[in-house]
C-alpha cells in the first residue's frame, strides 16, 4: 500500500537576495510536508521568512535552491519552474491575502466567477458554481454587491470563495485575518479548516493571530529564515497566562 503524496512538499528551500556583501538569506533549508485535508499555521515574527516561503510555494517568487512538489508533482527545482507556472497557479493553487484584493469593478459573484472563467469554465456553469460557493461561505445574500459595499469580513469570505473556486490542491493564505476583528478572524480560520476537510485541499496559513490556533491541525514556526519546533506555551499568550 502506497502513502498518498502530500499536498505540499518542500525540500531544503533557500532564498537568497543580493550577493557578496549585500547578500541576505531570507529562507534557509526549509523542508516541510502538508498533507491533503490538513490545515497548517505558519507563525513567526516579521522578517522571519514566512511570506518568502509562502510566495515560493505559491510559485510567485522562486527559491534560490531547493525543490517544491505539489500533489506529488515536482514544480520547482531551484529557481527553475518545471511546469507552466501561470497555468499551474490557475488550476491548483488558491490564494488569500491580508487584503481581500477583490477586483473593485466586479461584484462578489463576478469576482468568483472570473476565477472559474479564467480556468476555461463555461460562463453559465461558472456562475452557478460561484453562487454555490458564496452561499456555502455565507455571503450568498451579498453576491450582487461590489467589494466596497461589503464589510472586511464579507470581502475576505468572497476572497476565500475565489481561492476555492477551482477546487485547488493547495490554498495559501497570508495573514488573512489581520484586518478582521477576533470573531470574524476566527470565522475565517474555521472556514479554512472546513474547506480543507471538505475538499481535501492542503491549507497553509501565515498568521500572527494566536487566538484561533486551535483550529489548525499543525503549527509551524519560522525564525531567521528557518523552520523551528513550535513551542505552544511560548506562542499562545492565553495558555501562558493560565
Amino acid at each position: 500500500m502506497t502513502t498518498p503524496a502530500p499536498a505540499i512538499e518542500t525540500r531544503a528551500l533557500t532564498k537568497i537576495y543580493g550577493s557578496g556583501n549585500t547578500e541576505v538569506v531570507a529562507m534557509r533549508d526549509v523542508s516541510l510536508a502538508i498533507g491533503k485535508g490538513q490545515v497548517v499555521a505558519l507563525l513567526g515574527p516579521s522578517g522571519a521568512g514566512k511570506s518568502t516561503l509562502l510566495t515560493a510555494i505559491g510559485l510567485i517568487n522562486p527559491p534560490t535552491f531547493g525543490s517544491i512538489s505539489i500533489g506529488g508533482l515536482p514544480v520547482m527545482e531551484g529557481d527553475s519552474a518545471l511546469v507552466d507556472v501561470r497555468s499551474f497557479r490557475r488550476r491548483y493553487i488558491g490564494y488569500v491575502f491580508q487584503k481581500a484584493n477583490l477586483i473593485p469593478f466586479l461584484t462578489a459573484l463576478e469576482n468568483v466567477q472570473l476565477a472559474l472563467e479564467i480556468n476555461d469554465e463555461p460562463p453559465r456553469k461558472a456562475r452557478r458554481r460561484a453562487m454555490e460557493l458564496l452561499e456555502y461561505l455565507g455571503v450568498g445574500d451579498r453576491m450582487k454587491n461590489l467589494p466596497h459595499m461589503l464589510s472586511g469580513g464579507q470581502q475576505q469570505r468572497v476572497a476565500v470563495a475565489r481561492a476555492l473556486a477551482n477546487s485547488p490542491s493547495i490554498v495559501l493564505a497570508d495573514e488573512p485575518t489581520a484586518a478582521l476583528d477576533s470573531v470574524r478572524g476566527r470565522q475565517v480560520m474555521e472556514l479554512f479548516r472546513k474547506v480543507a476537510h471538505d475538499q481535501g485541499a492542503g491549507v497553509l496559513v501565515v498568521t500572527h493571530d494566536h487566538r484561533a490556533l486551535d483550529v489548525f491541525d499543525e503549527i509551524l514556526e519560522m525564525e531567521d529564515g528557518a523552520l523551528r519546533q513550535h513551542d505552544q506555551n511560548d506562542a499562545d499568550p492565553d495558555r501562558r497566562a493560565s
Binding site: 510567485i60 501561470r86 490557475r90 490564494y95 477586483i103 469593478f105 466586479l106 472570473l114 479564467i118
Partner: protein, 403 residues
C-alpha cells in the same frame, strides 16, 4: 466575462469625461480635415461650376485665379470664329471690399458675359439669374445680403435679384455675379476729379508730342471721355471662357487657339491643377501638416490616458496574473477599452462636428471618404496608443498584489 465593460461601468463618470476629451480632440482633427477639404473645394468651385472647356487668358499668365490677367474684350469675337467653338464668354474676376451697413463687405466680383451668360448655371437658392444688362447682381448667402437689397458699388446701385449658397472664392469670400460691363464699371470706377486730371494730362501729352501737331483733330478730342476716343483702349477683361461645340475635341480647339501669340490657353483641368498647385497649395500643405500633427498629438494623449488607466489597475492586473489569467485576458481588457475610447470619441466628434462646423466662417466639408479614413486612423491610434499600457501591464508581476 468582459472586464473592459465592467471596468467602464464602474468608472462611468471618469470614462465619459475622458471620452468627451478624446472626442473633442478628434473633432478638431476631423475639422482640420474638413477645412483642408473645404479649401480645395472652394478653390476649384467656380472652375467646376462655370461649364467651360477652355480658359483663354493673357499670354504667359496662369489665369485670373493665379495672377492678374488682362485681355482685350474683342478676343471674345475672335474666338467665336475658331472652328469647333460653340460659345465664348468674357469673364471678369476681382475682389472688392466696401462698407455695407456699417460693416466691411468683402466679395469676389464675377462678370458674366451678358446676354449669353445670365448665370443660369448658378446654384440659386432664391430669386432668379440676371435679367438685365445693368444694375442687377446675384450674391452668395455668405455675403449676408437679402433678395431685394440694394448695394452701392462705384457710382451705381445694384439690386440683389438672386441668392446662391456655397459659392465661395479661394480666399473664403463670397462670390457676387454681375454682367461683365457692370463688373468692369465696379473695377475701374474712378472719381470725377481723377477723370478730369487724366483728360488734362492726356491733352498735355498730345500738345507735347508730335502727334498733336501732325493730327490737330486728335488734339481737339484729347480731353473728351475715353469712350469717345477710338484710340484709347477700353477696359480689359480677365479671361474668355470657351465651350467646345458638341462633337468637337476641346484639346484640338485649345491647340488651335494656343497658336495665337497674344494669349495663353488652359483647359479646365489645367486651371483646376493650377489652382491647387498654385494659390492654395501652401495653405493646403500647412493644414495637411497641421492635421498630421494633430493626429500624432491625439495618439500621444490617448497613449497617456490608456497608460494612466492601466496604472490605476496595477493591483487588479497583478491579481489577475496571480490567479493565472492568460495574457490575452489582460490584453483584451486594455485593447477593448482603447478601441471603445477611440470609437466613442470618434462618434462624439462626428456629432459635435455636425453641430459646430456650420458656424465656422469657412466651409468645413466632411466627406464619407474622409470619415472612413479617419475611422481607420482612430482604430489604428487606439491600438497603437494602447501599446504603452500593454507594455506596462506585461511588466506587472503577480507579487505586486502583496505590496
Amino acid at each position: 466575462m468582459n472586464l473592459a465593460l465592467r471596468d467602464i461601468r464602474h468608472n462611468l463618470a471618469r470614462f465619459s469625461l475622458t471620452t468627451a476629451g478624446v472626442g473633442m480632440l478628434l473633432m478638431i482633427v476631423m475639422g482640420m480635415g474638413g477645412i483642408y477639404r473645404g479649401l480645395i473645394e472652394d478653390a476649384v468651385l467656380l472652375v467646376n461650376k462655370i461649364d467651360a472647356d477652355i480658359w483663354v487668358v493673357q499670354q504667359g499668365t496662369r489665369g485670373p485665379f493665379a495672377e492678374i490677367s488682362r485681355i482685350q474684350r474683342n478676343l471674345e469675337d475672335r474666338l467665336l470664329t475658331v472652328p469647333g467653338v460653340q460659345s465664348a464668354r468674357a469673364f471678369v474676376w476681382h475682389t472688392v471690399q466696401r462698407d455695407h451697413g456699417g460693416k466691411p463687405l468683402r466679395m469676389v466680383v464675377n462678370g458674366l458675359s451678358w446676354p449669353q451668360d445670365k448665370g443660369e448655371w448658378l446654384p440659386l437658392v432664391a430669386g432668379r439669374p440676371l435679367g438685365a444688362a445693368h444694375y442687377e447682381m446675384v450674391a452668395d448667402k455668405l455675403l449676408g445680403l437679402q433678395l431685394g437689397d440694394s448695394l452701392t458699388l462705384g457710382k451705381d446701385v445694384y439690386s440683389v435679384v438672386g441668392l446662391t449658397q456655397g459659392m465661395i472664392g479661394q480666399g473664403g469670400d463670397g462670390l457676387a455675379f454681375f454682367t461683365v460691363s457692370d463688373a468692369l464699371a465696379i473695377q475701374f470706377d474712378t472719381s470725377p476729379e481723377s477723370v478730369r486730371l487724366e483728360r488734362s494730362a492726356r491733352k498735355m501729352r498730345a500738345v507735347r508730342d508730335d502727334i498733336g501737331k501732325v493730327q490737330p483733330a486728335l488734339l481737339d478730342k484729347a480731353d473728351l471721355p475715353a469712350h469717345r476716343l477710338p484710340a484709347v483702349s477700353r477696359p480689359m477683361i480677365s479671361a474668355v471662357l470657351v465651350k467646345a461645340a458638341p462633337g468637337a475635341d476641346p484639346a484640338g480647339v485649345a491647340e488651335l487657339i494656343s497658336g495665337w501669340q497674344d494669349v495663353s490657353v488652359h483647359s479646365s483641368d489645367e486651371q483646376r491643377e493650377l489652382l491647387l498647385k498654385g494659390t492654395v497649395d501652401r495653405a493646403r500643405r500647412q493644414i495637411g501638416l497641421f492635421t498630421a500633427l494633430l493626429v500624432i498629438i491625439s495618439a500621444i494623449i490617448m497613449a497617456l490616458i490608456l497608460y494612466t488607466l492601466t496604472l490605476d489597475k496595477t493591483r487588479d492586473i497583478a491579481m489577475l496574473k496571480l490567479m493565472g489569467a492568460r495574457n490575452s485576458v489582460i490584453l483584451a481588457l486594455i485593447l477593448q477599452q482603447a478601441v471603445l475610447l477611440g470609437g466613442l470619441g470618434y462618434v462624439l466628434a462626428y456629432f459635435l462636428g455636425q453641430w459646430i462646423f456650420p458656424y465656422f466662417p469657412r466651409r468645413v466639408i466632411i466627406t464619407d471618404e474622409d470619415l472612413f479614413r479617419l475611422g481607420i486612423i482612430v482604430i489604428a491610434i487606439s491600438v497603437l496608443s494602447s501599446a504603452l499600457g500593454v507594455w506596462k501591464a506585461m511588466k506587472i508581476q503577480p507579487n505586486e498584489v502583496l505590496s
